[in-house]
């Protein structure tokens, strides 16, 4: 069996003797017999060699696709080598939350740098140190907007369904009523929003690019929400912000999103990164850790966890959120990624992803039955098409060729391209689709 305990048998005896005990069993005498367990039904322990073989065997049971044309909340981008080497450094990996600033300046500074980069990306004033994922960021963002007489949330029906579900879970338990807007040709209609807004609306959550990849008319939606006195929580894909207008420029009050595209692998769904940023006036409502700059006794620049009066360990049941551990190493991953690619590189990732998606949409439109669903809507790197055959059948045929096709959605397929989907990959995909559909 494997073990990470250094103490030898002799040492254990000596330690027990120092306590006047003869066995470790005596340390558990306080536990009532009814609550004791004397043997667990677990497999016998394994050596490192055996466990590595066993777990590697599980990894080998998964299918890795050569080409991935599926996104819908999880995006396969190129991850620069330096991102992986920096974020696997043991000092960063094996630290706890930086409570002791004097020996945690590395982590604290990296979070401060991350906060700055998120502010730059989103056009906002203040960022927190991260939350669990993009869906929880949306939920926490909505809860930040609650006022005594305004406690309703309006959700765009075009938001990612998983994000909607998490927002609904968080709102239901807080007694916050949620209204979901209808989807109007792949986007959110300003008229529908106006009709749903009321004096009780605390905020509107809109995601752009939305679940269908469509860019929403954010100027009109933000104006409508603000006219009615409601705040706007805008969800954004961080890659798109290398190119597209920011939540700050649109006048949104809070920007949230899934940070996974910034250097995190698909990882079957996690660890991912929820980013949250807001305007200065909402700063003290932000949940979670925030790092601030200060000085030490000698006037040297220093970073600390700050504005802690918002947090659970001080405020307990009155805290702005219960969050404690967040996704610090993922935040560092995003920060290294953004520094590695720089402003031009990020723009190129965004441009190439969008260019590939537009190329593929054009190619697919030439295949009978694969019409673009939301013609006339501008989209970023995802789009929905019809599918003339059973979408699941088509995807399994593509899988045989090492291709992960679009996600079956509403009878069609939701496609995604990133910079990794080269022209050759896309041409191969379209050829494969033609062949499958001809059969």
């Amino acid at each position: 069996m494997g073990s990470y305990i250094p103490a030898t048998g002799e040492e254990r005896k000596a330690m027990l003797a120092a306590l006047g005990l003869s066995s470790t069993e005596e340390l558990f005498q306080v536990v009532p017999e009814q609550a004791r367990v004397h043997e667990l039904n677990l497999p016998e322990g394994l050596s490192e060699m055996e466990v590595a073989r066993k777990v590697s065997g599980l990894a080998e049971r998964n299918v890795r696709f050569r080409s991935v044309f599926r996104g819908a909340g999880a995006y396969r981008h190129h991850i620069p080598a330096i991102v992986k080497t920096v974020t696997s450094r043991e000092e960063f990996v094996t630290a706890y939350t930086p409570y002791q600033a004097e020996i945690s300046q590395g982590i604290l500074q990296s979070i401060f740098e991350y906060q700055t980069q998120i502010c730059e990306l989103t056009g906002m004033d203040v960022s927190n140190a991260s939350v669990y994922d993009g869906a929880v960021a949306a939920a926490e963002g909505c809860l930040m907007c609650m006022e005594r007489r305004r406690n309703g949330v309006i959700l765009a029906g075009t938001a990612d369904p998983q994000v909607r579900e998490v927002v609904e879970t968080y709102c239901e338990s807080r007694g916050v009523p949620v209204t979901v807007l209808p989807v109007s040709d792949g986007a959110t209609s300003t008229d529908d929003l106006r009709a749903a807004l009321s004096e009780g609306t605390a905020c509107v959550y809109v995601q752009s690019p939305n679940y269908y990849g469509v860019l929403e008319d954010m100027d009109a939606l933000v104006a409508a929400a603000h006219e009615a006195g409601a705040r706007v929580v805008m969800g954004a894909n961080p890659i798109s912000l290398g190119l597209l207008k920011t939540p700050g420029e649109y006048g949104a009050d809070i920007a949230v999103g899934e940070g996974q595209p910034l250097g995190m692998p698909l990882g079957f769904g996690g660890p991912y990164l929820g980013f949250m940023a807001c305007r200065k006036e909402l700063m003290r409502r932000l949940p979670g850790r925030i790092v601030g700059e200060t000085v030490d006794g000698e006037g040297r620049r220093a970073f600390v966890l700050t504005l802690q009066a918002r947090e659970q360990h001080i405020r307990r049941e009155k805290a702005s959120s219960n969050i404690c551990s967040n996704e610090a190493l993922c935040a560092m991953t995003a920060s290294v990624y953004l520094a590695a690619v720089g402003p031009q590189g990020l723009r190129r990732v965004a441009e190439n992803s969008a260019a590939h998606a537009h190329y593929l949409a054009g190619k697919l439109a030439s295949v009978p039955g694969f019409a673009l669903r939301h013609k006339g809507r501008e989209f970023f790197h995802e789009f929905l098409t019809d599918c003339p055959v059973d979408p699941d059948m088509l995807c399994s045929r593509l899988a045989e060729r090492g291709i992960l096709g679009g996600l079956p959605v509403e009878g069609g397929l939701l496609w995604c391209c990133t910079e990794l989907c080269t022209r050759n990959d896309m041409d191969e995909l379209v050829t494969a689709i033609r062949e499958v559909c001809a059969q």
Binding site: V37, N41, L58, Q115, L329, G345
Partner: protein, 479 residues
């Protein structure tokens, strides 16, 4: 040291992303951002050195002793990291068909099964991404259960005054009001106060056992019975499971649901504040309310299914999956014998270190402890003017991460010490010497302690200034 932005020079090129191989997409000008984000432009060599320097200013458990109470900073095995980095896990899309991700589903299924056995629960979700998230999920199970029975009067959650701050905060998020019950002189739940607190409005109790003073509550069976008799449910905060795994199970103590911190008990690293993983488990009668999807095994195939009365998602996809891979690797390594051995040694190490310090430092409770113990510096504060903070900051100069300070709130000038099972007797002996030297210095040269640390990259930061005049991002020289 310099910030990333202070190292940036316009025009430093990157060669990571190739030029586009198809025609650019055209967007309406109104959809484009006005100016590029001011991201740093740094050569790779300097970027690498930047983080090497940051790493040198970071203390992790793989660098040195980290007896941070209630955080279970045990050694993070390398093989776990290697397994979680396998491309067969990292490169799997969470929405690819289940038949192409059988290995991932098996990881989830097996991890859930093993953790259920360790806790005495019947079902579990891996969606929660951290302990507090798991607490929230567990409380929603309680909420859904009462509502499903039409019992809308149960709006209160009982929390001991020694509880971690996330407990009351999670209860609020789950829509409950919090009733605090006091601790008794032995550090356990005051049974009479609990009897008075329960009633038809009791939704449940949240309890950490062993509790935050490192003691197993001997009245645990009475506590859970009192809550059950009042119609409430019992929630086990697994923060301190490392003390009892393999020796006692929350399910056998009378708890109905639990959360675990895989990043504490099951050796996955904490990453400077996450990612963690906080699975929430429950007895069979609560399983229909769990978040979905869950994984089941049909003959030799693994499939997803939706629990019939699910509370809905608390996170996208299946949570921090790669963290589950690390925990699974750990549990398979330790196995049937290793799990109880780890907790036994965690408790032995804590008692050994406590014994070495007792007689010099005042222990909050004069009894055998579980995996951690709490000291009070109240006497030193009064007599020598040396606080728990001074001792903690002095430890930094010895290369030791200080214990948790000023928690739990029920002990004045508290230092909470949790050595974990992965430290050798020499490490404990050295730490004890450091603690005793500091105490000696408190008598001879208290001023030195007030000024500690003396050998860290910075001295004590001005936290008041940080909070009063918040500087939360770099200003690019535009004050």
């Amino acid at each position: 040291m310099k910030l990333l932005f202070e190292r940036s020079r316009p025009g430093r090129c990157e060669s990571i992303i190739p030029p586009c191989d198809v025609e650019q997409a055209q967007f309406s000008p109104s959809l484009l951002r006005a100016a590029a984000p001011r991201l740093p432009e740094i050569a790779e060599v300097d970027l690498g050195r930047h983080y090497t320097e940051l790493a040198s200013q970071t203390h992790g458990v793989n660098k040195g002793f980290y007896p941070l109470g209630s955080c279970t900073m045990k050694y993070n095995p390398r093989v776990n990291e290697e397994m979680a980095a396998l491309p067969g896990f990292t490169d799997i899309h969470p929405l690819q068909p289940a038949e192409t991700a059988q290995g991932c589903l098996e990881v989830l299924y097996e991890t859930e099964r093993l953790l259920c056995e360790i806790t005495g629960m019947d079902g579990m979700t891996m969606q929660p991404a951290a302990g507090a998230h798991g607490e929230y999920t567990g409380l929603l199970l309680i909420r859904r259960y009462h509502l499903s029975r039409g019992d809308t009067a149960r709006t209160k959650i009982i929390v001991p005054d020694s509880a971690h701050g996330t407990n009351p905060a999670s209860a609020t998020m789950a829509g409950f009001t919090v009733v605090s019950v006091p601790s008794n002189a032995e550090g356990g739940v005051d049974i009479e106060a609990l009897r008075k607190a329960v009633g038809p409005d009791t939704a449940g109790l949240m309890l950490t056992n062993p509790n935050t003073v490192g003691l197993f509550d001997p009245a645990i069976l009475d506590i859970t019975r009192i809550v059950h008799e009042a119609g409430g449910l019992c929630y086990y905060d697994g923060a301190n499971l490392n003390a009892v795994m393999g020796h006692a199970r929350p399910g056998d103590m009378g708890f109905d649901c639990v959360h675990l911190n895989l990043h504490k008990t099951f050796s996955t690293p904490h990453g400077g504040g996450g990612p963690g993983c906080g699975p929430a488990g429950c007895k069979a009668f609560l399983e229909p309310f769990l978040p979905g999807p869950r994984v089941r095994k049909e003959e030799s195939r693994f499939t997803f299914f939706q629990p019939e009365k699910s509370m809905g998602r608390v996170r996208s996809f299946c949570g921090n999956f790669l963290v589950a891979v690390k925990a699974l690797t750990y549990i398979l390594t330790l196995g049937r014998e290793g799990i109880p051995e780890a907790s036994a040694m965690a408790v032995l190490n804590a008692n050994y270190l406590m014994k070495k310090l007792a007689g010099h430092y005042d222990m909050a409770y004069d009894t055998l402890c579980m995996h951690e113990f709490v000291m009070s510096l109240e006497k030193q504060k009064n007599e020598l003017g040396v606080s728990a903070m001074d001792v903690a900051k002095s430890l930094l100069d010895y290369g030791i991460h200080p214990p948790t300070m000023y928690f739990p709130l029920i002990v004045h000038e508290a230092l909470m010490v949790e050595p974990t099972e992965t430290e050798s007797p020499e490490t404990l002996d050295d730490a004890a010497e450091a603690f005793l030297s500091i105490l000696e210095q408190a008598r001879t040269d208290a001023a030195h302690l007030h000024g500690a640390p003396h050998h860290c990259p910075i001295g004590r930061p001005d936290e008041v200034r940080a909070a009063r005049t918040p500087v939360l991002r770099y200003d690019f020289g535009q004050k």
